[in-house]
Symmetry: C2
DNA sequence: GCAATAGTGTCTATCAGACAATATGTA
DNA sequence: TACATATTGTCTGATAGACACTATTGC
């Protein structure tokens, strides 16, 4: 089989970037690393790196994830009996505007990872070069208000994906490259996907309480939910939660039942995100 | 600004592939072209091509779309008063398994296009090299049954996106490369997105009747819907449909009111897809 | 008249949203 | 005791699903 004529197509570099989300102290946070070199030297950016020559895109994202956080990616396609540990990892979208990297033509396949609250990040041991940043701080309050950008619900990355600057503003605190837009798209994906899937459990430890799960929804959506209706909804949806047996008082107050994520991945009918 | 050291990263070719969907004779159909060269010579494949050196990903997809169908892509991000003509175009997912093309490392950014029923395709004038193929014929009946594959609702392209063979079988009628999987992902995206958005109107001409819109839903979902409840739902959702003024009898029977797509893009509450 | 489609009215079961009271821990 | 959280019950409004009938065209 002859190879392509190399002059027939332009060469690209392909990278993966990671939107790693977690819930810390009632706030949705994402992992950012400080850039050590130009361009955007000293600015915060999403973690990422080059895809290797014989490496699958998902494998590259999983490798970057373990390098940055120590988290083992949990492949939702693989038949694993229980979400052992590991984070949820899925492809988000691909960003390839010609001028998104001033050095050369780079196409980045962004991935979205959801993880339980973690110890402080360790980026090569340098404590000052990686941190969990509240999403609100990076994107501005308008991003919390809901479907602000053109994103709409779900993965609706329209043709505008590669269009210009991000929603998160262009100030000196904005993320490097087009990472503000990537982050905004990832956050919107997470917000919409917890509506109709059991993905919110990916933010929780293996065993968790109904209240902890509710606080995940409240942090991701930025709203307050009625504890009674929430309890009725999640315990009444077949396959969403299965009792783990024990109780815990780690949240204070009356002991709460512990649950594990059930086998159901799709919620029907979905959780309803309050209007505004 | 120094360029990267070329030895620091492997070279990739980047392509766009198109899942162009339409509704023809009560069936969901997709555009396929016959391959003229190895590999997979003579097999049907999704249309696509290389991204040019200074070209945005969405622009490359729009260019391929107009080349293959003559359709002008309608950018949902642009503030156009009315969906003039043109098809809906959005990014779908990216496929980059190392062995997906035996000749070299190719990463393909798949896009999804939705269009009204069109005249027969014209692929360079060769009538025998392009056609509208019923999706059911390409993917098998199981794909019509609903959320068969690992896809789940929405764009939930999990980490399994780049995993091996497609759902559509490996028989001699299967599409080239991993295009069966790409098609399956695109179909699932369309099926889920018409639930909660007004995207079904992208399958209709600029002016259409409630019955025509209902037949779009029935073709895409592969189910029968109650005409009365459907009529109540779509006419009762603010901003979904606006009366165009006239009537038509092109479907036979009593004249039906004509509508245009309203400004609303998100449907709240969504259309409910019947449970199998 | 017959066939085909369009359009409307009603009943019911289900469910989301709004509300308060009690239970059981820790400080 | 004071406090914090968990857990359960009820009412009401909105709506999806099921169902039958009339309206208006072309043949």
């Amino acid at each position: 089989m002859p190879a392509y004529d190399p002059s027939a197509f332009p060469p690209f570099a392909v990278t993966v970037d990671l939107v790693v989300l977690t819930v810390r102290r009632h706030a949705l946070c994402t992992l950012v690393v400080r850039r050590g070199e130009a361009p955007y030297q000293g600015r915060w950016a999403l973690p990422g790196g080059f895809v290797r020559a014989e490496e699958d895109l998902g494998a590259a994202a999983a490798r970057e994830l373990v390098e940055e956080t120590g988290l083992c990616a949990h492949d939702p396609a693989a038949p694993s009996p229980v979400p052992s540990n590991g984070a949820h990892l899925e492809q988000l979208a691909t960003y390839g505007a010609p001028d998104r990297d001033p050095r050369m033509r780079v196409v980045s396949v962004a991935h979205l990872a959801l993880a339980p609250d973690l110890p402080a990040p360790r980026a090569g041991g340098d404590a000052n070069s990686a941190r969990w940043a509240p999403v609100e701080e990076l994107l501005g309050a308008d991003a919390l208000a809901g479907t602000a950008g053109g994103g709409g619900i779900h993965t609706g990355v329209g043709a505008g994906t590669s269009a210009g600057a991000g929603d998160g503003g262009e100030g000196p605190d904005a993320l490097a490259f087009d990472h503000s837009r990537i982050l905004a798209d990832g956050v919107e994906r997470a917000r919409s996907k917890i509506e109709y899937s059991s993905l919110a459990t990916a933010f929780c430890p293996p065993e968790f309480t109904v209240g902890e799960l509710r606080r995940v929804y409240e942090a991701v959506w930025g709203v307050a939910l009625d504890p009674r209706n929430f309890h009725r909804k999640v315990t009444g949806t077949p396959g969403f939660l299965v009792p783990a047996g024990g109780t815990t008082t780690r949240q204070g107050g009356r002991p709460a039942q512990l649950f594990r994520a059930g086998g159901a991945t799709l919620l029907n009918p979905p959780m309803l995100r309050p209007e505004v």
